[in-house]
C-alpha cells in the first residue's frame, strides 16, 4: 500500500515530519508560557514579541558585532532574559495582587509597543539571516528532502524541553518552585526568597522564547510581526494542554504541529483554524485542558 486516503505515503511522511518541526516551535514557546503562568499566574502576552526580539537580537549580533549563530544561541537568551527580568521587576510584579486580566492587558500592551518600535526601525518585510554553514545542506530521506537545519531544530528543541522538565520535576530548585506555586507564603516562611524566584522564573520563560527566536531566524523571515503570528496559536496550545502544565504544553505543542501538518495536506484552507477548532472541542469536553488539574 502506498496511498492513504488518496495521499501518497511518502508525501504523508514528509508532512508528518514538517508538522513535527513546527510542533517543536510551538512546544518551546508554550513551555515558556506555561512556566510563567504556573508560578506567576500571569498570561504573558509579550511572549510573541520576546520571541521576535530573540530573532532580531541574533540578527544584530551577527550583522553589527560579527557574533555567529552558535554564540547567539547562548548570548541571546541571556540578553533577552535580562530584559524580561527588568520588565518583571519594574512592571509585572506590581500586578500580582490583581486579577489575571490586568497582567494580560499589561503584557499585551507591552508586546504591541515592542513590535511597533521594531517595525519603525526595521520595516515589515524582514531581514535575511543565513543558515549557519555547519547546518546547511540537506539529507535525502527517500520520501523527502530534509534540510539539516530543520532536523537540528527538532532535536535541539526536544532537548531543551526535556531539560526544562527535568529541572522542574527532578531537582531541588524545581521542587522549591513547585512548592512556591502551591503556597508562596509557606515557602517564604521556610526561608526561600520567593519574589526573587518569581523574577528569575519570568526571566527563564522569556529566555526560552528568545531561544525559539534564534532557532527561527534562519528559516522564517526575521520581521516584527513574526511573533504575533505565532503567539495566538501558542496560547491555544497552552489552553489545550492545560494552563500551567509543563508536560502538557510540550506534548500538545508537538501533537498540534503534526495535526496542523496533516491539515495542510487534506484541507490547506483550514490549516490556520484547525488548532482553534481543537481548542473549542477540548474546552467543551475538558475545561481544564488535556493535562490540567481541575481547579
Amino acid at each position: 500500500m502506498d496511498e492513504l486516503f488518496g495521499i501518497p505515503l511518502p508525501l504523508l511522511f514528509g508532512q508528518l515530519l514538517l508538522g513535527l518541526i513546527n510542533g517543536a516551535f510551538y512546544a518551546m514557546l508554550s513551555l515558556g508560557l506555561a512556566v510563567i503562568f504556573g508560578l506567576l499566574n500571569v498570561i504573558n502576552f509579550t511572549h510573541g514579541a520576546q520571541f521576535m526580539m530573540g530573532a532580531f537580537a541574533a540578527w544584530m549580533l551577527l550583522n553589527w558585532f560579527g557574533v555567529n549563530y552558535w554564540f547567539a544561541l547562548i548570548l541571546v537568551p541571556i540578553i533577552i532574559g535580562a530584559t524580561g527580568i527588568v520588565l518583571e521587576k519594574l512592571m509585572i510584579s506590581r500586578l500580582y495582587k490583581l486579577d489575571h486580566l490586568y497582567g494580560l492587558l499589561l503584557t499585551f500592551g507591552i508586546g504591541l509597543v515592542i513590535e511597533g518600535v521594531f517595525r519603525n526601525e526595521f520595516g515589515s518585510s524582514g531581514l535575511p539571516y543565513r543558515i549557519p554553514p555547519e547546518l546547511s545542506g540537506a539529507w535525502d530521506l527517500g520520501f523527502m528532502f530534509m534540510p539539516v537545519y530543520r532536523g537540528w531544530v527538532v532535536v535541539f528543541a526536544a532537548a531543551v524541553c526535556l531539560a526544562t522538565w527535568l529541572v522542574i520535576e527532578k531537582t531541588r530548585l524545581g521542587a522549591n518552585l513547585r512548592a512556591a506555586t502551591e503556597n508562596p507564603a509557606l515557602v517564604q516562611a521556610f526561608g526561600i526568597n520567593v519574589p526573587r524566584m518569581v523574577t528569575l522564573t519570568y526571566g527563564a520563560g522569556v529566555a526560552l522564547a528568545a531561544l525559539g527566536g534564534v532557532l527561527a531566524a534562519p528559516i522564517y523571515s526575521v520581521n516584527p510581526q513574526m511573533g504575533s503570528n505565532l503567539i495566538i496559536v501558542v496560547f491555544a496550545v497552552v489552553v489545550i494542554g492545560g494552563m500551567g502544565s509543563i508536560l502538557g504544553s510540550v506534548i500538545t505543542g508537538f501533537g498540534l504541529g503534526i495535526i496542523e501538518g496533516l491539515t495542510k495536506v487534506f484541507y490547506p484552507e483550514a490549516s490556520a483554524t484547525v488548532i482553534f477548532v481543537i481548542m473549542i472541542i477540548v474546552l467543551l469536553a475538558r475545561p481544564a485542558g488535556l493535562f490540567g488539574r481541575t481547579a
Partner: protein, 406 residues
C-alpha cells in the same frame, strides 16, 4: 469700552477663524491614503507611499488650492478598511482615496467610492477585477494588475520551457485573481496547471508543507500567487528544501524591490519579476528617487509607491483643470477628466488612462542580479525585456467591465 461690547467683540473675533476655516475647506482637496501601515504589506505601501504622495503635492506646487493628506491603517481587513473609508468620506470630507493595498480591501472600498461618488486611485492592490467585472466610473488603477503580472512573468516562464505549474496561492481575492490570470496564460501557451494549494492569509509563515506538496507533483514551475513576506518566506524555504537546486523553477508572480531587499541577493539572485517602475531605470526615475529618497528612511521607492506619486500628481492636474468646486462635487467627473488628459510624470513617463480605469504604461521584466553584479545598495535589477503599453495590459474588451458596453 463697556463690558457688553467687549464680549461682542470677542465673539466676532472668535468667529473669524471659523469662517476662514469653512472657506478653506471649500478650497482644500483632501486625499486619504488608506493602506497597510503595520503588517506584511507595509514596506510595499505603508509610510513610504504616504511620503511619495506628499512628494507629488510638493512637486505640483501651490496652484491656488490646498491639499491635505490623511493616513490610516486598514490592517489588511476589508471591514476595517470599509469603515475608515465611510468615516473619511461622510465625516471628514475626503475627496480621493489613495493606494488601498490588499485586493479584498480594495474591492470593498471600490464599491463605497462608487456609491459615494468619490475618487479611488488604486496603486498597490493587484486584482484585475478592479478594471474588469467590478470596475467603477470612480476608479483609476495605476501601477499593475494580476493580468499584467501573469502575462509578463508567467509568459516568460512558459516561453523558457516551464509548461507544468503548481500554484501556492494566498487564499483571498488577490491570490485567486493572480492564479486565475496566470493559469489562463499557461493553458493558452499549451501548458498544464497540475494543482493549486490555497494558504490562509494572513498568518501563514511556514510554507514548507506546501512546497513539498508542489515538489511531489513533479511540476516544472511553482507559481507563487502571493506577495510580501508570504513570497519571501516561500522563496527562502524553497531554497532550504533544495527545490530550486533540483531544477524546479519559482515564478514569483508579484515580487517588488522591498521583497528582493528582504531576501538578500544571495537568495534572490536569478529570479525574474515584473514591475512598471524601477528607481534606476532612466534619468527621470533617478531624479524622482533623488527627490523623494530623504523621506524614505534609507529605502528606494517601490513601483507601488511611485504609483501613488504619479496618481496624485495626475489627479491634482485634473482638479486644477476642472476647478476645485467641481472636482469635489463629483468623483465621476474628476475621473473622467483624468481619463481625458494624457498622463506625464517622472516615474512612468507619458501614458493614458483607459475608459475602464486602467492606467496604461509599459511593463518591464527584470532579473535579480547576483551579489557580484550589484555595485551599490538597492542595485538589484537587470532589464530583460519591456512590453509596450498597448500589449502589457488586458485588452479593453476582454475585461468584462460594464462601463465599456455602455
Amino acid at each position: 469700552m463697556d463690558r457688553r461690547s467687549l464680549i461682542a467683540g470677542a465673539a466676532i473675533l472668535g468667529a473669524v477663524p471659523l469662517v476662514r476655516a469653512r472657506a478653506q475647506a471649500a478650497n482644500t482637496i483632501k486625499i486619504g491614503v488608506l493602506n497597510d501601515q503595520s503588517g506584511t504589506y507595509r514596506d510595499i505601501s505603508g509610510p513610504n507611499a504616504v511620503a511619495c504622495a506628499r512628494q507629488a503635492v510638493a512637486d505640483f506646487g501651490p496652484r491656488g488650492f490646498n491639499v491635505e493628506i490623511l493616513v490610516a491603517d486598514h490592517q489588511n481587513r476589508p471591514d476595517v478598511g470599509a469603515n475608515i473609508a465611510r468615516q473619511w468620506i461622510d465625516r471628514d470630507g475626503v475627496d480621493m482615496l489613495l493606494d488601498v493595498t490588499t485586493s479584498s480591501v480594495a474591492l470593498a472600498v471600490n464599491d463605497i467610492c462608487r456609491e459615494k461618488n468619490k475618487v479611488h486611485i488604486n496603486s498597490t492592490a493587484a486584482t484585475s477585477d478592479l478594471t474588469g467585472a467590478r470596475c467603477a466610473p470612480t476608479t483609476v488603477h495605476w501601477t499593475y494588475d494580476t493580468y499584467m503580472l501573469a502575462k509578463s512573468t508567467g509568459g516568460a516562464m512558459v516561453r523558457a520551457g516551464g509548461d507544468s505549474w503548481f500554484f501556492i496561492t494566498a487564499d483571498y481575492a488577490f491570490g485567486h485573481a493572480l492564479e486565475r490570470d496566470t493559469g489562463n496564460f499557461v493553458r493558452e501557451a499549451g501548458g498544464r496547471v497540475l494543482n493549486a494549494v490555497r494558504t490562509p492569509f494572513p498568518g501563514t509563515t511556514d510554507f514548507s508543507a506546501f512546497l513539498v506538496q508542489a515538489q511531489a507533483s513533479r511540476c516544472k514551475v511553482i507559481g507563487l500567487a502571493n506577495a510580501g513576506s508570504d513570497t519571501t518566506n516561500c522563496i527562502k524555504q524553497a531554497a532550504e528544501f533544495g527545490i530550486t537546486r533540483r531544477g524546479v523553477k519559482l515564478a514569483a508572480l508579484l515580487m517588488l524591490i522591498p521583497d528582493v531587499h528582504a531576501l538578500g541577493l544571495a537568495t534572490a539572485q536569478g529570479l525574474v519579476c515584473s514591475e512598471t517602475f524601477y528607481w534606476d531605470l532612466n534619468d527621470r526615475t533617478r531624479a524622482f528617487t533623488a527627490r523623494v529618497a530623504p523621506q524614505l528612511g534609507g529605502a528606494k521607492p517601490a513601483s507601488t509607491q511611485a504609483g501613488c506619486y504619479a496618481g496624485v500628481l495626475h489627479y491634482l492636474k485634473a482638479v486644477q483643470d476642472m476647478g476645485v468646486a467641481q472636482a469635489k462635487a463629483s468623483g465621476v467627473e474628476a475621473v473622467n477628466r483624468m481619463k481625458a488628459m494624457p498622463t506625464e510624470d517622472d516615474c512612468f513617463g507619458a501614458g493614458s488612462i483607459r475608459a475602464d480605469g486602467r492606467k496604461i504604461h509599459p511593463a518591464h521584466l527584470f532579473e535579480v542580479k547576483t551579489p557580484a553584479e550589484s555595485r551599490a545598495p538597492w542595485d538589484y535589477y537587470k532589464l530583460l525585456q519591456t512590453t509596450p503599453a498597448e500589449e502589457a495590459f488586458r485588452p479593453l474588451a476582454a475585461g468584462g467591465c460594464p462601463l465599456i458596453r455602455a
